[in-house]
């Protein structure tokens, strides 16, 4: 028997030993962020149903919660992709507003068909993303600084384009954001988010193309030397992020029938919080869309609980921040268990 074989057998013995059941459950929870979040979301929803039977599990409340989380949910798909690749985009809130305003201008001021307005809004978002991607990959400016710059540039362009905004836009345009399904009566932004999350989740989890993003984030130099086109993928990631911000922007504008210049202010931090909560790491290489959307759901439930409880809005940030720190500190346990 060779040395390699002996050491392999020895290595197997201690690692595969079964632990006590409770410990195994804890470890499993710690090792799968999705599972942890899922358990937390279900527990929180159950607790709220029991504590606030008249406020929480009602149709209007549920609809409001789901509709409010739609833009963050749409953006999380793109942010997760970028963070898997080891980068991120701070300009999404400004991109969202710029797209909404352009859609508003095209439909409200110029009187073009609603479909053209939607399309142009999304294209504006994709172009904004493309510019971010070009700055990061071609000029080589760090994503934090590049998108911090475009965050203010895009917001400023929004003001320049439409001053105080476009209100009202047009009824035919508004219909795209207000249409609701006959059964649950939830408006279209939620359904758009659901479709995007399902498609995005499948693409990132299963397809060969998107699998490459994990390698880019895992070790960009090794990915490059493995024949993966790192810069091109990062560029594509930013374009997808921008287009998603565009979709969130036009749907938001349509639902309100108003392109607000202050739309999406501060949303980037909420999106990044949900993405990190959902299992992404700033170092890149890990995370799933499922985790991201569970992160969004969890934050939405906490905020809802505080609203029902009439806890001041001022306290929400404190709770969300604590939850984030708690979730990330779980990773310490995870690595300790693995070594």
């Amino acid at each position: 028997m060779s040395v390699a074989q002996i050491s392999r057998n020895e290595a197997q013995a201690p690692v595969e030993q079964r632990e006590a059941l409770p410990l195994r459950i804890v470890r499993r929870l710690a090792n799968s962020r999705e599972l942890t979040l899922f358990v937390l979301v279900v527990a929180l929803a159950l607790a709220m149903t029991i504590v606030y039977p008249h406020n929480f599990p009602t149709g209007p409340n549920m609809r409001a919660v789901l509709l409010n989380l739609a833009p963050v949910g749409i953006l999380v798909c793109g942010m997760m992709l970028l963070m898997i690749a080891g980068t991120f985009d701070l300009s999404v809130g400004s991109t969202l507003a710029l797209s909404g305003v352009w859609a508003g201008v095209v439909s409200g001021w110029w009187g073009w068909p609603a479909e053209a307005a939607l399309l142009i809004g999304v294209v504006v978002g994709a172009v904004a993303g493309l510019i971010n991607g070009l700055i990061v990959t071609r000029i080589g400016i760090n994503a934090l600084i590049a998108t911090l710059g475009t965050l203010t540039i895009y917001r400023s362009l929004t003001y320049v384009t439409a001053g105080t905004g476009v209100t009202p836009i047009s009824d035919s345009f508004a219909e795209y954001g207000r249409a609701a399904d006959p059964v649950l009566r939830i408006q279209s932004p939620f359904w758009a988010m659901l479709v995007l999350v399902l498609i995005g989740g499948w693409l990132i989890a299963r397809t060969r193309f998107f699998r490459q993003f994990y390698f880019v984030g895992g070790n960009p130099r090794a990915a490059q030397l493995s024949g993966i086109r790192v810069d091109r993928l990062i560029l594509i990631g930013f374009v997808i992020m921008g287009a998603l911000a565009g979709i969130a922007g036009v749907l938001g504008a349509a639902r309100l029938n108003s392109a607000v210049v202050n739309a999406g202010v501060g949303i980037e931090l909420k999106v990044i919080t949900a993405t990190v909560l959902g299992g992404a790491s700033l170092k890149g290489g890990e995370g799933t869309v499922l985790g991201g959307i569970l992160g969004v759901l969890f934050i939405a439930l906490i905020e809802n609980a505080m609203i029902i409880n009439a806890v001041g809005v001022f306290w929400q940030g404190l709770v969300v921040g604590l939850v984030l720190l708690f979730a990330v500190s779980l990773d310490r346990f995870k690595t300790a268990g693995r070594a």
């Binding site: 390698f215 895992g218 030397l225 300790a336």
Partner: protein
């Protein structure tokens, strides 16, 4: 006489692993003690415990008769225990001088760092190693060898009683190694005890007085160097005989696979040419900084070329990036597996699948099942010792990581495989397996271009040796019958007239 260092019944456990088990040894003042063992044998762990990097699980450590309690690296440093780490402990963004005096910078009034004094001191420390490195330069701009020298200078910057060197020569050239040895011998003459962790047996015989061998965390034996032999040490270390010697091969070489002519990729590659046939192992030898790795990167499309032609099986290619080279059937195992080779945070399956994503997919879908099967095959074929294909690669030993890196490129079934430093930081056992593997590949008709700074390795592997100096290919030798002296003479005797050297090489 009290021993300088006395370690008794030392044990160290990591979760799930017993890294050291009941190890005792004593080192006298002025003694140079080699610590030998395969990767994972516990030799680095022992060094790190003594230097306060790790805390021990059991046992006792005495320095000049005084028992040491729990100590950290800083406290150990104050006691006169210095360590030079295997993996860099330098901060790339800071200057050489600041790294050497990290946390102990000389100060002027009000705590201001005395930059001039610090640089002067750093300069003196480096100069005694016989090297010139600008103390004001950022560490990020240093070559691996230069960074290693700075690490050593950092350890020497204190009053030392015990110096621990953990694989200090992995990145050094022969000349630099010789200089390091002189310094170590001088320190020993001054009464400093040295623990020299290495797998390189030749170095141990050249430098050390005595040698302690560890195997699987246990003491396998301590010998006086004058009274032992290479064979005995290898037996202690691996428990079997290992042959690194050249195997007489009767390989037939096929048609030319790679033909690179007058490739220029400034500043490090001036004009380099090489041909490799199917089934042939060509080694690129030369000193560190001679442009070998950069020449390979230019062939692989990872470095921009200014001039020159690259043909694969006769057809010219112009790779704009590694993806183009990969498409032409070229694979490259890079020099530094941690920074540019592996995805350390990912498991074996993903690492091995990285070059062949389309092969492990059905249509657009990535197939975990296919990727696992692929990884499983390589684990058994290359004898990678891992509990499962889902193990995180960063947790494997150096030798096994190197095998994973090779597997990643074997998976794409290259026509030409470039291997830069195939056995850097790999223990003797894994080393012989990697040699066997590379020879096996050549037998299957793969063209191999191997870069190595380890001359015995070059002589053991090469069918042909191409020597580079200052960015040019300056000579060629047949592998059979070549000697270290011949290679070195070519590598160092480069004059401005390349043609002269070429003529000499042909004459030799």
């Amino acid at each position: 006489m009290v021993a300088r260092l006395e370690v008794s019944q030392l044990s160290k456990s990591f979760p799930g692993v017993r890294a050291l088990d009941d190890v005792s040894m004593a080192v006298e003042p002025g003694e140079i003690r080699a610590l030998l063992g395969e990767n994972g044998a516990g030799k680095s762990t022992l060094g790190k415990i003594v230097a306060g990097v790790y805390s021990r699980t059991g046992g006792e450590v005495r320095l000049d008769g005084v028992a040491l309690g729990e100590l950290d690296e800083k406290a150990a440093g104050e006691l006169g225990i210095g360590i030079v780490h295997q993996e860099g402990s330098l901060v790339p963004q800071l200057s050489v001088a600041e790294n050497i005096f990290a946390g102990r910078q000389p100060t002027k009034w009000f705590g201001q760092v005395d930059v001039r004094l610090m640089r002067e001191k750093a300069h003196a420390l480096i100069a005694q190693l016989g090297v010139a490195i600008d103390p004001a330069m950022k560490v990020a701009f240093l070559s691996p060898a230069q960074a290693q020298i700075v690490e050593i200078a950092k350890a020497l910057s204190r009053e030392l009683r015990l110096l621990i060197l953990d694989e200090p020569t992995a990145a050094l050239t022969l000349t630099e190694t010789e200089k390091l040895f002189e310094i170590v011998r001088r320190l020993a003459r001054d009464g400093v005890s040295v623990i020299y962790v290495s797998h390189r047996l030749a170095e141990i015989f050249a430098l050390c007085n005595s040698v302690t061998v560890l195997k699987d965390g246990r003491l396998a034996g301590t010998r006086k160097v004058a009274e032992t032999t290479t064979d005995e040490l290898i037996r202690l270390m691996v428990g079997r005989d290992v042959h690194l010697a050249r195997s007489a091969s009767s390989r037939k070489t096929g048609p030319i696979v790679l033909e690179a002519s007058e490739v220029s990729a400034p500043p490090l590659v001036q004009s380099a040419s090489v041909t490799v046939r199917a089934g042939e192992v060509v080694c690129l030898a030369g000193l560190i900084g001679s442009g070998r790795s950069e020449f390979c990167e230019a062939i692989f499309g990872a470095r921009a070329r200014r001039a020159g032609e690259i043909r694969i099986a006769g057809a010219p290619i112009n790779p704009q990036g590694p993806w183009d080279a990969k498409h032409a059937g070229i694979g490259m195992v890079p020099e530094d597996r941690k920074t540019s080779g592996l995805f350390l945070g990912m498991n074996l399956v993903n690492n091995i699948a990285a070059t062949v994503l389309s092969k492990v997919s059905s249509g657009a879908n990535f197939s975990n099942r296919k990727a696992e099967a692929l990884a499983g095959n390589f684990v058994s074929e290359l004898r990678i010792s891992t509990p499962s294909v889902h193990k995180i690669v960063g947790e494997l030993s150096g030798g096994n990581q190197q095998k994973v890196l090779l597997a990643k490129w074997l998976a794409m079934e290259p026509r030409l495989l470039i291997v830069d430093e195939p056995t850097r930081g790999v223990d003797v056992g894994a080393r012989s397996e990697i040699y066997r593997l590379l020879r096996g590949l050549a037998e299957k008709g793969v063209a191999l271009l191997v870069v190595s700074s380890d001359l015995p390795e070059v002589l053991a592997l090469a069918d042909r040796i191409v020597v580079m100096a200052e960015g040019r290919t300056v000579g060629e030798l047949a592998g059979e019958g070549a000697t270290e002296e011949q290679v070195l003479r070519l590598a160092t005797r480069f004059t401005s007239s390349v043609a002269d050297v070429r003529k000499e090489a042909v004459g030799a």
